[in-house]
Symmetry: C3
Subunit: 397 residues, 3 copies
């Protein structure tokens, strides 16, 4: 129990009052205390569950999910998190269509939320739209709560947007923290967030953006590497620079994968489409120009094909710190010779890291549950303390 | 707590014994006591939830939903109601096809109901079919229960049929009661249930029928207004006439929207297809005559287009009592200049009533939960009393 | 309560230690004690529920379902079983596509299982594939558990594969046991598992295989009858022969429906496709040869049509023991003159057995729940005893 008690003490020292009755959109909008609290609550919830102690803070209530892009992993993580806290998932199935009209969003958001405690949204397909949509939904239900339409204020968790993928990169980061034995051991560690070749088209920017937007906060030396033309959103790079400076680390950019991998402690090789291409695609979709989209896709795949050497091979891994950098991926990866002919990572590299990769993914349900909990309780330390004291068994066979 | 205690006292005085182990098909099949009890239990459940008191009367059990027409709002209301009482929703996804064969309905109804406590069905597309189908399902599971096939008798809640939409109009009515400060203040109030223009085709009759079939019970002067040819089911009009007479109110019909709006205290302008057209469509569907359906749709839209002046404009609203009638709509409305070029209601009118409209919708989860509860417990007053006394927190963060 | 206490005493005497933390793939892999325990726990759970005692052994947790073939009945049974024990169902909707690649199965299995206590899979379409797939999933999550990726080991319940349909045939068998007043009364009873004509194509082999693979364990004389060419898997017939010999019963095969029905105490007339045809179909699907599939379907229906006399008519029923054999079917049946022009069973025969057939189906949620429970608790007798003692009401209205 000492772990849990330590975590509780740690949480009590953190200022989380602005997380209460609030949403989780972007990691860089959160203070260091808030980020730390999210990790600590996630770890606390896991510790309680591992000790077979129920973490249900709700007796009833709904968790609404809205996935505007296919999802299996995040869907199950959200469902697990909701269930862990006692909420029942109801999925709002809109298809992938953007509900363009403000009036409709406001109304739907309220109509589904009469008994909703949390809302989780994935909307990562359209540059400049996903995050905006989430904020609209959050504002509308906040307004609904203030007007007395809703009895409780549903708080929103960003399950991936066009800008950030906070539940993913917070899980990645917690995995890094635990792998290196604590946040205090990260100063000066070298992180390589690099593009990697994929035979598929148009992967979102939210993961690399989320990574540079989060990992620059811990005094690490973060390098972004990609072929020319695969730029991320400039605003997020600005965030990364500022945070790196403030945390005593650094943020650099290169067009050379080897340079990024050299002496890296952590590598995150992953494919994405360029910001410019995603913007173009968003516009084409907006105009319903499906021929244009096909042409763009063809062009982007041809562009990708020029960079098949951006693969996380054994040779590349050998260049990292002691040849043993921690390999990260949000999964599923395009594995050369396994899920595709040539892809982001060599089969033997992936194989060696499979177990840690799965553990990395395993943080997500707890990260989501922590975000939910922190938006619902004023004193999270006290809440975990109460759960520990109650000691209701999760499984009572 | 005094509110809840008063509600409990009120419920105890009402005769609800025939609601126990029974279904909710049509409001006019229910006695005044039963209607009053549904409202009071809905209010009681809301009061308990607002005081953060759990209203779970089930520890486990299923609530089966079957939507034969698209639904987001009612689907979420049903899920919320089930969750509020402790039941888990399982959706039976049959698509929109009519299961024509009696044998199949009997078998499916039993096969899905081994642990079902309630069943909710929406089947509003086919005139003469939806309500009949629900009664079949209800009879088959009742028989299954009596034969010992099912351990509990699943009770049925009509989530909209071809005749009535009881969960909607009971919510509308509870909103009216609360807006006017109690059922005792409704005598002599003027209600205008009017057709309104919509650029879409074939909206069900269940809302206007439900409204005249319910609101005529409260001593109000209910006027139905629509263009010639948009008649409702004659049987329901007969019900409305009888109830109006019995309650000391009146039921009148006019083909003039202005006349209906004149001095109205409550207006409910809403589009629908005519009974005759719906009958025709049902027959065409039955024959698989899709060309016929297309032709009918074209004809009906052309017919609709002759009545674009049936719009709830500011001018029309100005004619109502002090220009301030309560505007009702079951949502979503066709809002001129917002969700369509020209529709049922002017943008400025809708805007002014948005908040009350959302509150009107917010009664539905509680109305559905009340219908469920009243079909499951013999002494609803005692049940609410027990829940109040237990005082289990819904949220215990 | 004496029933429950007797059942608990019975369970305590059975050796179920190998069911703990284990999967349920095929009935013939289970010992007699394990089969008996599954029945007894199912009966115990039912007895508790009938006495309105909660059987929730989980406070939270997920039950993952994966249906690779359409299902309403088993889907609802699985959901009911999960709910009965306190788990929330999350459905993994993969469509019907075979996920061919091992790597993907391993990853997906782990990614969805972070908080999964049980997994139920139906995969009955492809000969030589379904059961193999289930074992792969079970192995991968077992490995995930052992590697510390998963906090709990999700156990797997076979909801129908290419070889067996254990939840169905265990329900059938429990119905037989209760109809004949106990397992001790089954010795020497004659069972006719026969093919029957259906105008539809390609019904799985899992039910007839499951029946001969289970019912031969109880000292009964089991006859398999089908037209030439409709053979089952040879391996399963071998199992049936061995078990029949060991239990003091017999297993015989005939190509004559009348011979099988003669003096039968139990008849199970049901259509299936031949093993050879199913193998051919699996290969065609594997090659994406849809023209070949169409041709095969045509050929198989033509073959079926030669055997329309394999119908369970009144004449055939008259040949059974006192004309009153227990008629079994897994439902839905192809009923002559009801669900098809000519089918597996005469309308009047089906009608006479409808109530017992529905009861037969009603065992399934309890059988599934028993399989789940036995994979989760070391001492099932003690678990039921605890639930009985706790006496938490399932419904507390």
């Amino acid at each position: 129990m000492s772990d849990i008690k330590q975590l509780i003490e740690q949480i009590k020292k953190l200022d989380t009052k602005n997380m209460y009755m609030n949403d989780f959109f972007l990691t860089w909008e959160k203070t260091d205390d808030e980020i730390a609290a999210t990790f600590a609550v996630a770890e606390g919830l896991r510790a309680l569950r591992e000790k077979n102690i129920s973490t249900k803070i709700f007796d009833s209530g709904l968790a609404i999910s809205l996935f505007r892009d296919n999802s299996t992993r995040t869907r199950f993580s959200f469902a697990s998190a909701a269930n862990l806290l006692g909420l029942e998932v109801q999925d709002l199935d809109e298809g992938k269509s953007q509900i363009a009209h403000g009036e409709t969003v406001r109304e739907t958001a309220n109509m589904i939320s009469f008994m909703a405690d949390v809302i989780g949204i994935r909307d990562d397909m359209y540059i400049g739209k996903g995050n905006t949509y989430m904020r609209n939904v959050a504002n509308y239900v906040k307004e609904g709560y203030e007007d007395g339409v809703l009895e409780q204020r549903p708080t929103l968790v960003n399950l991936q947007c066009d800008i950030d993928h906070p539940t993913q990169v917070m899980s990645d980061m917690l995995h890094v923290i635990n792998t290196f034995g604590g946040v205090e051991n990260l100063k000066g560690k070298k992180v390589a967030m690099t593009w990697a070749y994929s035979p598929s088209y148009g992967k979102p920017l939210s993961v690399p953006q989320g990574v540079i937007g989060l990992m620059t906060r811990f005094g690490m030396d973060v390098t972004l590497a990609h072929p020319k033309g695969y730029d991320l959103m400039g605003d997020v790079e600005e965030v990364a620079k500022k945070q790196a400076a403030a945390s005593g680390g650094s943020y650099t950019k290169t067009y050379d994968m080897d340079e990024a991998f050299k002496d890296a402690d952590i590598v995150y090789p992953k494919s994405w489409a360029s910001f410019a291409a995603m913007e173009q695609r968003t516009e084409l979709y907006g105009n319903g120009d499906f021929d244009g989209i096909k042409a763009l896709e063809k062009q982007l795949l041809a562009e990708n094909a020029k960079h098949t050497d951006w693969e996380c091979t054994e040779e590349k891994m050998a260049k990292t710190k002691d040849g043993k950098a921690l390999y990260l991926h949000c999964l599923p990866a395009d594995i050369t010779g396994v899920s595709c002919k040539q892809g982001e990572v060599a089969g033997s590299v992936f194989d060696r890291y499979r177990e840690p990769l799965y553990k990395q993914a395993g943080y997500k349900p707890y990260i989501i549950a922590a975000m939910m909990l922190l938006s619902k309780v004023e004193d999270p330390g006290k809440t975990l303390e109460k759960l520990l004291k109650q000691g209701t068994p999760r499984f009572n066979g």
